[in-house]
Structure formats: C-alpha cells, structure tokens
Point group: C2
Chain length 415, copies 2
C-alpha cells in the first residue's frame, strides 16, 4: 500500500481516559477500514481538551492523509472536535441555516425547547460537508482540504456505526476509486489459533490477498482481503486453499452464527428441539431463545441441578448412584428423557459442572453432551476448563457443534 | 493534580490496528490508574514498527513522566517494545544471566527446547528492572531514568492484569508516596444515567473527592476517589451524600454483583430457588449457575416456550386461553408451579418475548416477572425493549432485582 491509503483514528473523550466508557468504536473501525483498502496506522485516545486535540490532529495530518475522529460532537463546552478541526485547518465555523432548521425540527419533534448551546451542532466550516445522523442530534463532518480528509463522527457506537455505513464508507470508497477491494470470511471450529496460524502461514504471506485471523468464542475466523482488478479471482483461489487446509472444520461464512445456522436447519427440516442442562445451566436455551425462529423449533428446556430434581425429571436414581451424576450414562438418559417429555424430535443434554465450581466429585470443566434423535442416542466428553471465565459459553457452543455434527451424520444437512 | 501524576499508555500491536484483537488492556488500566492517583492523559495504539514505536514513546516522554506500554514483549522479530525503549533512552540491551536461566528452566518445565529467538525475553538494559510474569515467558520491564518511568507489560490481558496487580501497582504507589489515594464504589439500580448525573452534579464538582459514573448492565456505578491525609473522611462524607441522594436505590458496594449477593442471602438463610423462564429462555438460571454456591440454593429450572409445554408444566390451558401466555396471571401460576414441582422455597418466573421476536401478539420487550414464596405470589410488568440487543440480559437482571425486593419485603434481608 502507498501512503495514500493510510489513516489514523482519534477517539475523543475524557471519559475514555477515566475508564468510564470503553472505546468500542476504534476496534470496529479497525475491522472496517481494510474493507475499503485503508491501512490503519495509529489510534489515539485524547481528552476533551482543545489544545491536546488540535495537537493530536495536527500531528496525525502530518503523517497520513485520512483522519477519522469519533466523539466530541455533543452540544456542551467539553465537546471540542469541531473547534479543533477548525483551528487546525484554519477556518471559522458558522451556523448553517439548513442544519439549524433541521436541529430545531428535531427538538420540536421531541417536544423539547432547544437549549441555546445546542446551536453548535448546526455549525459548518467552508471545507466541511455535513453527514446525516438519523439516530442523534449531532451531524458528522466530512472535511476535505489540500488533499487531506478529516471525518468527524459521533461517539455513541450506535450513531457512529450507522454513520460509518451510510455516509462515510461510501464516500471513502468513492475517493479511493482506483482500488477494488473485496473481502470474504470463513469460520473454523476445533482448531487451536496457533495451529491455524501455522497451517495458513506458508500460503498467505502476501498482502494480496491478505489474511486476518480473529479468535472468537465460536472458533477462529479467517478473513481474506484482496484488491485490484483480479480481486475476485484472488479471493476464490484463497478460499479454495482454505477449504483444502481446513475441510469440514470450516462451518460458516461471513457473518453466519452457529445458532443462526442451527435455527435455519431445524426450521427448514421441521424438526423440534428440547434441552436438559446441568453444566450449562440454561445457557444453551438462552442462546437459542434470542433467535426469533426459536419459537418454531425450541419446545423448551429443563435445568436440572440437584440430583433429586434429576430423578423427578426422569433420570433413574439407580443410574446416578451407579455412574455418578456426571457421566455419559446420565447424559444419555437426560437427552432421551427431555426428548420424550417435551415431545421433541431431538433431545440435547449437558451433564457436568462449570469450571469455577468443582464439587460433585468430578473434574471441573469436564462435561458430557448427549443427543437423542429418531435414530439413536450419542454422548461425547468435553473439557473447556482451560478457558476459565468462558468455560460455560464454550461448553454451550461445543454442545451446539455436536448438534450440527449429528444433523450431518443423520442426513438432515450436508456439510 | 500536578504534571507529576500524569501518564500515557501505549498499546503495541499491528493486530490491534487490524482489528484482529480488541485492546481491553487500556480500558482496564484507565480504571486502575486513578486508584494510584495517576491521571491518564492519552492512549496511543501503535503497530509493530520500531520507528513508529520509538517516535511514539519519545513524544509521550516529552509530555509526561510515566508511560505504560502493553504488548510487544513476545519472542519474535515483530515484538519491538524492548528495542524501542532501549533506543529512546539510549541504552544497549544485554542478556541477563538470571533471566536466561529462568527462561531455560521454564522451557524445560514445558518439555520443549527453547527457540533461539526467545533469548530476547531475557534481555535487560542498565536502567531496567525485571517484572515477574508467572503466567507467561515474557517478563516485564520497570525502567527509571532521569525522573521518567517507563513500564512494559505483556499484551495478553491475563498476564498484564496479574503483572499490574502484583508488580506495577505497588511500585507506582511507592514512588507516589506523598499521595494517599482511596476509592469507594456504590451501585445504583433503577435510575437512568442522565438522572444520576443531574442528581450528583451539584455536590461533586470538585476533584477531591472526584466522582466517576459508570453505566453497567446492573445499573449505574458511582466511584469516589479521594486523596490527601483526610481522604478517608472525604470518602465517608461523599458516600453519605450518595446515600442521601439515592437511598435504597443503592444496592451494592465495590465489586459486589447482584447474583453474588442473592447467592449469599439464599445460602445464609437456607432458602432454595427454582426458575420457570419463557422470556429469558434460561438466562436467569445460567447467570446463577456460574456461581459455585448455586449448587446449594438453585434446585433447577424450566424453560417453557411452546404453549403446550406450559400446559405440560402445570399451567392450565384455560388460563392461557383466557389471559394469553404473556400475562400477569400466567406469570403468577408459573412461579407457583415451579416452586411446587421443584420443591423450592421460592419460585421465580418470567413470561413474555424478547425484543427481537415480537410474535405471540404482545408488545416485544414486555415481560411479566412472578415470584411465589411461603407468603404469597406477586407479579410485576417490565419493559426493557429500549435496550435492544441486551433486552434479555436486562430482563434477567430486572427479575433478580425483584427477587431482592421480595427478600427485603419478607424480612429475609435488610436493605
């Protein structure tokens, strides 16, 4: 990449420096900028201080041609992003009549008098174009002067991401017309991050396509980015290479989520599910419940923590005594029992304790997953204790991957 | 605060600029630094580039006396934090025999040959003292030269936070001896952030004590920080003022969590709980299951999504027909039913749909919470739909706050 495609981010707000708010905007933009072919070279978090902001912006503009600023567009005297841009590029802000009219309409619509200090949200400088903010009172600024571009977006993530997608990204693409940029993601499961990095390393040392490796709770995501006229072909080749390397350990593409795929498969095939959870304590059910389609396939679930509750829910006491509550035998009967009691096509169970408990005489983190369907019942042993805080989440995701595996083995889906 | 107490953070890593990893270290340190009396004035995220890192560090040291660096301490040639510190303060790194012996022992212990490039993790410069890292191979550096302090800590958050707590925080406290710094937090629930800010504003415009306002899923946290010889008294007065303002809307202190308090109350009073969830789909159970004590008080739970499952689980079909599945009447019977079926002292229920679904003919986000105990059964209507993605979590937390309220009303706890 040439220097023309380099950018810096400035995140504005004393509350960020005091840790009162976490800056999620910069991480979001960091994932977005490669998609328009921009290389991010620095992120600076600065306080609500005109001198510091101006100095930071000045220095950034000496290094790169594109600077993205988030925050500091509110109406108070602590909101100084506009003032600092104006100072650095030596222009004077004036109230723009159209923006003022729009702002007054907005306050009227909210049934409130517009406080006088809000007027600065209608400011513009000669080199600035206003960027629409349908989710708040602060419009953004798109500033172009002497080959440099400064973009100011509001701090609230909801407003920032909307303005990025609707206003900023298209404009950046338009000024970077000589670059075709394409991206494609695949998602793997069951391969440790270090192994992923080792496996792909020989094939992806180039920067076109470039390969990003992102560790997520549901596995490792690989994102290919290619530019130039043959970007499409580079991505096709790169993707084919990834399928050669990882095969069926690739389970999804782009923004797909495992629970979303499962919801789609179950809904399409008309199958229903019921869950009996010990280890995961309701987490699997709650992950699936978040999806609107869950009303069509999730019959319900049970959380069986105490042993006598397990017995009430259809697990023979003798079985618990013989094998222990945390055993493949009990996980198997749990899956069968919930399938029957909830009249579901598939019963899914987790037996075990989460990492941070560790009683019941078993290794913390060791769980058994059981799946009962129209064909048979199967169990698997899992241990995610090395992931500490997130072991419950890993266990829930691990169980859902077993469900995917069974749907494939029984011919419901092709993977 | 004088300039002596100002610090900057430099977060190192090209993977941060590509969005492959989210920088959680800077946010953590931002919340920690006020506790040792340090004002954070800037955070810079820089790539793995010797020139850029050195320039960034050089500029930071021109502005402030304390610079904290995270990341770039790995063994590869891309890990350049040590090199850049050495370059900026003009010293030459040498292998320290003790650190080398320790590093070799560590690799022996892991049963692996030490790769030759790892040797730089045993480097020191004359002005640097080594900081122990019990969780990884990269020791930190504590550098003191000409009144400036540079601290280098590893990038993995687990290693960084441990080194901060055990090595860095005590050393910073020791060099900032003339300041007594104390902090105290209280947590409120049920007061919108804007209202909290408005209520406290007249009383906390000073910087001693200073007041930080943090929005969390379980309400607004208020943190008082005071310094000087009468810091203790300033905090006492400030805290008393907060109790005057918020009264029983303050539910916790310091690091307390609502589910942790509930677990403590139930365990101490020997009461047991069972949960029947529709709207929250297992989330309440899974939040409680994360706590080790849950084995003593959480009998289990049911997730009843489909109406016929509700009927199977003891909700009369006529009731659902008459009032609808999402109604105070059904929430009431759900709480009674789960209390009885799971032989628990308290039955808790949620009825409704999450914001993103919206079928069942009811307003999305509208839920009813039911609690049945030895005295009676009560229900409440909640609506968290304005929180979008997090509405499920808000509903679960809202239900747990109702449980706290009932425990208070029935004399189990004093609030």
């Amino acid at each position: 990449m040439t220097n023309d495609y380099r950018a810096e981010i400035i995140a504005v707000g004393t509350e960020l420096l005091r840790g009162e708010i976490t800056d999620t905007n910069s991480g979001y933009l960091a994932t977005q900028l490669p998609l328009v072919g921009i290389e991010l070279t620095r992120i600076t978090t600065a306080g609500d201080n005109l001198e510091q902001l101006s100095e930071t912006l000045q220095q950034a503009l000496e290094r790169v041609n594109i600077v993205l600023i988030t925050g500091g567009l509110g109406p108070t005297e602590d909101d100084l992003t506009r003032e600092s841009i104006a100072a650095v590029i030596d222009e004077v802000p004036e109230v723009n009549p159209e923006l003022e009219a729009e702002l007054r309409r907005l306050f009227q619509h909210m049934g409130r008098e517009m406080p006088s200090h809000n007027i600065k949200q209608a400011w513009l400088i000669p080199s600035a174009e206003s960027l629409k903010n349908p989710l708040g009172t602060a419009p953004g600024w798109w500033v172009n002067k002497k080959g440099k571009t400064v973009v100011a977006m509001p701090g609230p993530p909801r407003e920032m991401t909307a303005m990025w997608a609707n206003e900023v990204k298209p404009r950046l693409k338009a000024i970077l017309t000589n670059r075709v940029i394409l991206a494609r993601s695949v998602k793997t499961y069951g391969v440790p991050e270090a192994e992923v990095a080792e496996l792909v390393q020989p094939f992806f040392e180039t920067d076109n396509p470039s390969l990003g490796i992102y560790a997520k709770p549901d596995g490792i995501q690989l994102r290919l980015i290619a530019y130039g006229d043959d970007a499409e072909k580079l991505l096709d080749d790169g993707e084919a290479r990834l399928y050669e390397i990882f095969g069926t350990r690739i389970w999804g593409k782009e923004e797909e989520k495992l629970e979303g795929l499962i919801a789609g498969w179950l809904t399409q095939s008309g199958l229903t599910l019921a869950v009996m959870e010990d280890a995961t304590g309701g987490l699997i059910s709650s992950i699936l419940t978040r999806l609107p389609e869950s009303e069509r396939f999730l019959r319900g679930g049970m959380i069986v923590r105490a042993d006598d509750i397990k017995v009430n829910c259809g697990i023979p006491e003798s079985l618990i005594k013989q094998y222990g509550a945390i055993s493949p035998e009990v996980a198997e009967v749990m899956a069968l029992a919930v399938r029957e009691q909830f009249s579901a096509d598939i019963g899914l169970s987790t037996s075990g304790v989460m990492q941070n408990t560790g009683s019941k005489g078993n290794r913390p983190g060791l769980t058994y997953v059981g799946i009962a369907d129209m064909h048979s019942v199967k169990t698997w042993a899992h241990n995610f204790s090395r992931f500490r805080e997130y072991s419950g989440q890993r266990e829930a995701i691990g169980a859902l991957f077993r469900l995917r595996q069974r749907l494939a083995e029984t011919g419901v889906i092709n993977i």
